[in-house]
């Protein structure tokens, strides 16, 4: 279980970090989603939330492979053009699946550690989830304004919210690491 936790954490880290050399992503997102899906699959027996997160990771894996093959949809917003409905829909789907992934992870950890009070992992997972859902919700509510509000203003707002989302995801990573360590200790005690 601890290794599954670490796999999920490594997977999220790979998705979070983009290292591009000459347009090539050295830490490709599909690898990250694959690791996360594999970890969540291992934990799926413990909680249905892990199952939901695993399904989201699998769909994100398919989406990221499709993006690698077909290419990113022309992000009009970044080109100074208003985004199309198709671009918005794909973005919405991606964001909803990412939300489900983090939601599944945090709720799964909360339910798995609900009886354990020593390290308060469940409490950390609850705080991480609350923080993530708040900023992700703000991001989701703000993004469609790119259609109608001045692009400079929206670029600034979305940049701030993206930083906030990344910080919340980093907090989830650290929480996963703590959960993995806790599980390892429990396994060693047994």
């Amino acid at each position: 279980m601890s290794s599954a936790c670490y796999r999920i954490a490594w997977g999220l880290l790979l998705v979070l970090i983009n290292v591009r050399v000459g347009g090539l992503d050295l830490l490709p997102d599909p690898l990250g989603y694959l690791l996360a899906a594999s970890g969540l699959w291992t934990l799926s027996e413990r909680s249905r939330f892990f199952q939901a997160g695993g399904a989201a990771a699998l769909l994100l894996l398919i989406g990221s492979i499709a993006r690698m093959i077909v290419g990113e949809p022309g992000t009009g917003f970044l080109n100074g053009l208003p985004p199309t409905i198709l671009e918005l829909s794909l973005r919405l789907l991606d964001m909803l699946l990412s939300t489900l992934l983090i939601y599944g992870i945090c709720k799964g950890i909360m339910s798995s550690f609900s009886g354990e009070s020593s390290l308060n992992i469940a409490g950390r997972a609850r705080v991480c989830l609350g923080w993530f859902m708040t900023v992700q919700g703000l991001w989701l509510a703000s993004y469609p304004f790119t259609l109608n509000v001045d692009q400079d203003i929206m670029a600034f707002c979305l940049f701030i919210l993206t930083i906030a989302v990344m910080i919340s995801q980093a907090a989830v990573l650290l929480m996963l690491r703590a959960a993995g360590r806790s599980w390892r200790e429990m396994e060693e005690r047994k």
């Binding site: 053009l81 919405l92 469609p144 109608n148």
Partner: protein
């Protein structure tokens, strides 16, 4: 239970933001290229031109790339697709000139007045359609005798507030006998204010910069329609014709106006042919984002 309400409200907010923004976006898009309404007067000879303005969605796949005016194959058309950029639309223009085209094709020789009301629009997907653009009056000049002009243009200016002036020097005695334009009704209705100043100048010092003395002023700020015609102009006199567009309604401010006001002169001694000076007055819209939004909604209703 509290948590569930919180999530429900958050989802409601997100869904409302998406539905509202997509609805507002769709309500402010143009599904096809639209031409503004033009009221243009032009002299169909080398050096003169007119601009046809159109509004197009930035995301539209079928873009206007060229126009063709039936019956006038030699006209030179220069596209200027991004004349002004707005959030969702671009205001572009097609500059149509009577100069010789690069292709070597000669511009048409137009001797009789004519009116163009529609052009053929050519699109990026290979399709074409006839579109109404308002009215373009081709008004050939009656008297072309530039070697012996009694009136010499000396300076002129135009401003972004849709005003401007022409200053003329009188080279030999003439009588200003009349004025004409296809759109004189704009002057009569007050949409275009035109005033004339006539200052007496001593020959040889007519270009000095000081303000004229009262004794030198023959007419000052006289509305062009109130000129006591015929007006005698002596050699060395200076004539200033100033204009300002005064379009009150938002609909008119989104239209394009171009006038060629002709002042007609007769030789004071009566031994020369009559002559005209032509003054270029133009109003090109420069709408704000809000005006564009209102115009798009109005045109969507009409499409």
């Amino acid at each position: 239970m509290r948590g569930k309400w919180y999530y429900f409200l958050a989802m409601l907010l997100i869904a409302g933001s998406w539905v509202g923004n997509i609805w507002y976006d769709q309500a402010n898009r143009l599904e096809r290229t639209v031409f503004l309404e033009h009221y243009i007067e032009v002299i169909p000879e080398a050096g003169d031109y007119f601009d046809l303005y159109y509004l197009e969605d930035k995301r539209l796949e079928r873009k206007l790339i060229d126009i063709y005016i039936e019956g006038y194959p030699g006209l030179q058309v220069s596209p200027y697709p991004n004349y002004a950029e707005y959030r969702k639309q671009s205001l572009g223009k097609m500059i149509v000139s009577f100069d010789s085209a690069d292709s070597g094709q000669e511009p048409p020789e137009i001797k009789e007045p004519a009116v163009i009301r529609q052009v053929t629009a050519l699109y990026s997907d290979g399709s074409s359609e006839k579109v109404r653009i308002g009215e373009i009056h081709l008004v050939p000049r009656d008297h072309v005798n530039r070697d012996h002009d009694p009136i010499q243009w000396t300076s002129g200016a135009g401003s972004s507030d849709h005003s401007g002036y022409d200053r003329l020097a009188v080279r030999r005695p003439v009588n200003l006998t009349g004025l004409s334009s296809v759109y004189m009704s704009m002057v009569e209705e007050g949409d275009l204010l035109v005033h004339a100043d006539i200052v007496k100048r001593t020959p040889g010092i007519s270009h000095r910069s000081e303000a004229p003395s009262e004794a030198e002023i023959k007419l000052s700020g006289v509305p062009i329609l109130d000129l006591p015609l015929p007006v005698r102009l002596n050699q060395g006199d200076s004539v200033k014709v100033a204009y300002k567009f005064n379009l009150s309604s938002p609909a008119k401010r989104m239209q394009v106006y171009q006038l060629r006001l002709r002042l007609e002169y007769a030789d004071a001694e009566g031994d020369q042919a009559p002559w005209q000076s032509v003054h270029h007055f133009a109003y090109y819209p420069s709408p704000t984002e809000r005006e564009i939004t209102e115009y798009v909604r109005e045109r969507r209703g009409a499409l």
